[in-house]
């Protein structure tokens, strides 16, 4: 090879570095279903009179989403057909993008001034977009049909920046056959984590490869368990971190002890690369708190009897709520039409019925008649637990630097879960690192 040619090729390679540093970011590990959502069960924003619907002139808007990708594109298309029949003047150009590329793409479009008129955001990104003023105030929209708790998830400082497009929550799944074998009665909504511990130990005793429970040691799981112990990550007005409070330490200690002390939950070595759902499906796991989006998968994959119940608590109950926000571009010139479309998509009876029929999460609506269709499907027999859980929804602490806080806490908890730090050290470190790196408003 000639020296000049070598130099030329290498220079081209190096230059490629800075430009291409971010193009290979297939974030496949992330859950494509949902993202932590929220709410406090406070008041309805109660705006019912809408100024949005009667668009005389034909208008075309653009809508971008990730939630329909990978199987629900046709459902979304049929929703749009129903919408267009009702609002013939509004044409919506729908673009569905895979989750792995969605947020990089959306960030680039927003910065470049080419964002769609309305689009979907997960909770991690929602708070940042709202804080940076790139999404519109939706306070004028008709929110009368929404579930108020779901709606409050996307209300920042009194301003409604997003509408809950869908929702899912988390319940406790359990393997009935394993409970029978261990001679333990099935869990119910009266259980605390102590009951879970006792049942798990009985199931663990069935054999070396059997485990009682699997609850990931992550930020998402932690903020909920902390709430069950009466703790929280921020003080009530979100001006200070309270990560290493006594309640939070008790919560994290219980999560970590399940792995390191009683081993009713497998270590990562014992998992051997297996996923938590796989472990449950294999019939060797007694209980798993996970999302209701597991229904279809478990129905297909489990050859044993299983059911669900409201997740146990400690000093109080607290359950996860997952939702994605539908938002309107702050610089869109067709805000009215965009609001009409996302309000219809998220809260109309027609849209909700199509969503339920397709088994595509739940609509975040308050019309119980429509939701009842969902209860008729089994398994699980105790599907009512999905709705009972809504009484205990917990709000994730939404701050502008949400992703950074979540990463720092997950990092430290992982260190505690492998025993390289005590729980106290881990939460102390998380507290000081969050204080050093994140400025709270």
């Amino acid at each position: 090879m000639k020296r000049g040619f070598v130099i030329l090729l290498i220079t081209a390679m190096m230059l490629g570095l800075v430009a291409c540093g971010n193009n290979d970011t297939t974030n496949t590990s992330q859950n494509t279903q949902n993202t932590a959502g929220t709410t406090d069960t406070t008041e309805n924003t109660g705006k019912t009179d809408s100024s949005t619907t009667d668009t005389e002139e034909p208008v075309t808007i653009t809508y971008c989403n990730f939630n329909a990708s990978g199987g629900n594109e046709a459902t979304l298309a049929s929703m749009y057909e129903a919408f267009h029949a009702e609002y013939p003047n509004i044409t919506v150009e729908i673009e569905t993008v895979a989750y792995s590329d969605y947020f990089t793409l959306m960030q680039t479009r927003v910065a470049g001034g080419t964002a769609p008129d309305c689009y979907e955001l997960n909770i991690e990104n929602f708070a940042s977009y709202a804080a940076k003023g790139v999404i519109a105030d939706l306070s004028a929209s008709d929110t009368s049909k929404f579930n108020t708790t779901a709606l409050s998830a996307f209300n920042v400082g009194g301003t409604q920046y997003g509408l809950p497009g869908n929702f899912s929550n988390v319940v406790l799944f359990f393997n009935k056959d394993l409970f029978d074998q261990a001679g333990v009665s099935y869990p119910d909504s009266s259980w605390t984590w102590e009951d879970v511990q006792a049942a798990s130990e009985a199931i663990k005793a069935l054999g070396d490869d059997y485990y009682g429970i699997y609850a990931p040691i992550t930020y998402n799981e932690f903020f909920k368990v902390a709430a069950q112990f009466g703790g929280s990550l921020l003080n009530s007005d979100k001006t200070a971190f309270t990560i290493n409070s006594a309640e939070n330490i008790a919560a994290a200690q219980m999560m970590v002890d399940r792995i390191l002390v009683s081993n009713i939950q497998p270590t990562s070595e014992q998992m051997g690369g297996m996923g938590d759902w796989d472990l449950f499906e294999s019939g060797r796991l007694g209980m798993i708190p996970t999302g209701i989006w597991a229904f279809n998968t478990f129905t297909d994959a489990c050859d044993f009897a299983w059911d669900i119940c409201v997740e146990p608590g400690q000093t109080q109950k607290a359950t996860h709520f997952f939702s994605n926000a539908l938002v309107v571009n702050a610089s869109s010139e067709k805000k009215d039409a965009a609001i009409t479309w996302i309000t219809w998509l998220a809260s109309s009876d027609e849209s909700a019925q199509l969503r339920i029929a397709a088994g595509w999460d739940l609509p975040a609506i308050n019309n119980q008649d429509v939701l009842n269709g969902y209860l008729a499907i089994t398994p699980p027999e105790n599907r009512q637990a999905v709705f009972d859980s809504l009484n205990y929804l917990v709000v994730p602490p939404i701050i502008e630097d949400y992703s950074m806080m979540s990463d720092i806490i997950t990092d430290k908890l992982s260190a505690a879960a492998t025993g390289t730090m005590t729980v106290q050290e881990a939460l102390d470190a998380a507290q000081s690192e969050c204080e050093a790196q994140i400025t709270l408003q």
Partner: protein
Amino acid sequence: MKQSKWKSIPFLLPSLLGMVVLSLLPIAIAIVLSFTDWNGLDKLNLTTIRNEFVGFKNYISILGSAEFWQVLGHTVYYIVLYLPLAMLASMGIALLLNKGRKGTAFFRVIYYIPVLTSWVAASLIWKWVLSSKYGIINNLLALVGITGPAWLSSPVWAMPGIVLASVWKDMGFYGLFLLSGLTAINTTYYEAAKVDGAGKLTMFFKITLPLVTPTLFFCLIMSLINAFQLFPQVQIMTEGGPNGATRVVVERIYTYGFSYFKMGFASAYSWLLFLIIFILTLVQFKLQNGWVHYES
């Protein structure tokens, strides 16, 4: 001669335009951004740049943070393991495929298939290959009485696990370059050596190796640059864990830019990485006079 240079311009133009618009321009903009606090969402124009200008603040805070040195350390650890293994494996493949044995064409394709496989698929397969309980590697080790490590769940063994996967995926690529280097060696050298009574080993060390050094040098630098950009396999196989043991520089750039909305900070990170690679490449160019033999 001059005339033919101008004639080539229309042919170069499509690639040149692509490079200028999609690579050089973003690179230039990234320098400017690295001196700002731009969040990646505000509309990017001169006013934004002026308002968000922070001078060398991003560079100072990156260099002053323990995190930068930690992720750089992880990246260097990967490179130290990866480079020699990748070069040895590629050279081995090139030598095997150069013999003109039966079925060589078939094996050339086989060794190149991992190169064409996407990292997503390859990483998922390697996650299972390296599984401490169900993986083929640990099960083979168990046959000879060795208890295999926990690989991806062990802070010590996770990076070597990623190195194994990377070497497997890349060796066909560099092997192909080295193979072309080997086939370009004039056979008269070997004939002359044979006449003089040289053995196989002597011929390899005195003829093959020196004459393939320019290709080897090229492969070495390319693999070094690629290794510094380590990211997709880490993101899929370990997500930077366990306990951050496999967190690397490009993962930080991505996270700061697209997850934490600190695009200025991420740009500064990119440029620091570029400078490191640039300096190391310069050093390699200086050192090449000691061992690389060009034919002309």
